[in-house]
């Protein structure tokens, strides 16, 4: 089953702790390779805690763990902590302010069996090996959008 959401990214204390512990640590991986979903939405999607899901936006696709949000209710809104995984999905346009849109991005969630990549693996897979450009639906060049 697939559902439409609004994706918001942000800080979490676990993400902060994870960054300080090291980006190759389990602490960081557990804190950031996740999407926090409202409990009601989890039920409607038929998801259980720690199921792997693929979050898809116009700008990228990434596989992360589904988690029941502790800072709920926020039906229709999904939340990902800042990090390597959330960055794959955000809207890089800045509307001439220097700031990309990191909140309020239309997204959908689908259940998947694919593996969740580690932080180093993700950077390598998406950027060093150049796979991100293939996952983005649009944004082939700057002038496509302007």
């Amino acid at each position: 089953m697939e559902m439409e959401f609004i994706l918001s990214t942000g800080r979490s204390i676990w993400q902060g702790e994870g960054i300080e512990a090291g980006c190759d640590s389990d602490l960081y991986f557990n804190a950031c390779a996740r999407v926090e979903i409202d409990p009601d939405d989890m039920e409607r999607l038929g998801l259980k805690e720690n199921d792997t899901v693929k979050v898809v936006t116009k700008y990228g696709k990434v596989v992360v763990y589904a988690k029941e949000s502790e800072q709920s209710p926020h039906r229709g809104l999904i939340y990902m902590p800042y990090g390597t995984w959330a960055n794959v999905l955000v809207e890089p346009l800045t509307q001439c302010t220097g700031m990309p849109n990191l909140k309020n991005i239309p997204a959908r969630i689908e259940k998947t069996d694919e593996k969740v990549l580690g932080a180093h693996e993700a950077i390598k897979y998406y950027y060093a090996d150049g796979n991100w450009e293939g996952t983005a639906e649009s944004l082939k060049s700057y002038y496509d959008i302007h």
């Binding site: 902060g16 300080e20 090291g22 960055n87 909140k103 180093h120 950077i123």
Partner: protein, 438 residues
């Protein structure tokens, strides 16, 4: 024997808590007191997982090299680049940023700090509107209405509420938390919202509308819609009335306002709201951006004092130019203009957007970073410096722009130079190479 070092400044977030106690045994950090979860982790893991020497990418692998070789390589990359970007500066000291500005000018590059994906819109709005600011001490002593808009200090600035704003007893607020009203505006019921007196759960991306509705009420216009931003109009009126009962109000705002559509315009109207609250009701109002990195405010201040502009300063014509949206890090990376990059005191691997990272992977990247961050996957020259505030001293600016001297807690390991020294060495070589070319 365990030595307890007192009054240590925590180099993690913009709060720069200066009451930390760090326990040191044989030059090893073994524990901390008073600090938050993140601050504790910063000190605890500072000495773990450090690379022993600089590294250069050869045949796709990062290979350890001598410091000299790494300096030469870094200078060579920067001299050969047409439009190098110098990014970061927020997790290092103001002194390093000063050298960074000189280096940028010598290379005719662009200097930008992490504010560009954090509070850059706030700075743009402050330049548009002006801003009534205050220090955190004033907030502690005077504030009786605290608004947290689009920020979650319980997670991002864990000691902010307990040390500066909500819980401490102040000169005019003798009963601490009981003397203050806390309102939180956030689309999620965050952990901060759970502690607030009022949580206004707005629909995502409608902050601009809600602030305008508050202004409408203040300016005696009718609110024509039944609900605005998912909140009934009557509730908005009541919130406004409740706000008006106070004497001294501070608006703390975060990424909820800056990182979505509207950006600097969201802050523009927020500043106007604060202004009108003061003008029409007589509440003393101030506002403060919730700065993330411990020295991101310092990066803005230092770049501003060196070049005249706070961030996104372009030296490609030999003199500083400032055009956010044109010369800011995200835009030059987005458009693929940058052909070399130096990253210091930041972790773009966790914060940059996909397209910027995608371009960074294609260009030579010099990374000054003590730990094994994911950006090493695409870095070409890596320096492992001494950590500011733990292994060397430096100046940092708190979120209210108060400079605080960071202290040295332990001796740095061998071969780990402070950021200032690394940048000075690179600058020296860049000048030599440029001199030869001319």
């Amino acid at each position: 024997m365990i030595e307890e070092k007192e009054n240590i400044v925590c180099p993690f977030c913009g709060c720069l808590c200066d009451d930390g106690v760090v326990k040191v045994e044989d030059n090893k950090i073994v524990g901390t007191r008073n600090l938050c979860r993140i601050g504790h982790k910063k000190f605890e893991s500072a000495q773990h997982g450090r690379a022993e020497s600089p590294r250069i990418r050869k045949n796709g692998e990062l290979v350890p090299v001598t410091l000299e070789e790494a300096f030469d390589k870094a200078a060579e990359i920067l001299v050969n680049a047409e439009r190098p970007l110098f990014y970061g500066w927020s997790a290092t000291c103001a002194e390093a940023t000063q050298v960074g500005c000189e280096l940028t000018e010598a290379c005719r590059g662009i200097i930008d700090c992490t504010a560009t994906i954090c509070h850059a819109p706030s700075i743009e709005a402050i330049q548009d509107q002006g801003a009534p600011l205050s220090t955190l001490g004033e907030v502690m002593n005077r504030a009786d209405l605290i608004l947290y808009w689009g920020c979650n200090p319980m997670h991002a600035h864990p000691r902010h509420m307990s040390r500066y704003s909500v819980y401490p007893r102040g000169f005019f607020r003798k009963r601490g938390r009981k003397s203050r009203t806390i309102m939180v505006f956030d689309p999620r019921r965050t952990d901060t919202a759970k502690l607030a007196d009022l949580h206004v759960q707005i629909s995502p991306a409608s902050d601009h509308m809600l602030v305008h509705t508050f202004r409408e009420i203040l300016n005696s216009y009718d609110v024509t819609h039944e609900t605005v931003a998912g909140i009934p109009a009557d509730a908005i009126r009541e919130t406004m009335e409740a706000m008006a009962q106070h004497q001294w109000c501070i608006l703390f705002f975060g990424m909820g306002l800056t990182q979505q559509m509207g950006k600097d315009r969201n802050i523009d109207v927020a500043i106007q709201l604060m202004h009108e609250l003061n003008k029409y009701i007589g509440i003393r109002t101030t506002l403060m951006p919730m700065r993330g990195h411990f020295n991101v405010a310092g990066a803005n201040i230092t770049i501003c004092s060196e070049t005249g502009y706070p961030f996104a300063v372009d030296f490609s014509r030999g003199y500083p130019r400032y055009l956010p949206g044109e010369t800011s890090a995200m835009d030059v990376l987005y458009r693929g203009e940058v052909d070399a990059m130096l990253n210091i005191g930041a972790n773009p691997g966790t914060s940059f957007s996909n397209r910027a990272l995608s371009h960074m992977a294609k260009i030579p990247l010099i990374n000054i970073e003590p730990h094994n961050q994911q950006l090493l996957q695409i870095s070409d020259v890596v320096f492992s410096p001494a950590m500011v505030g733990i292994e060397c001293e430096g100046t940092a600016y708190r979120m209210d722009n108060v400079p605080i001297k960071l202290r040295k807690v332990v001796e740095p390991p061998e071969n780990r130079l402070p950021d200032v020294v690394i940048l000075t060495e690179i600058l020296k070589r860049v000048k030599e190479l440029k001199g030869k070319g001319a």
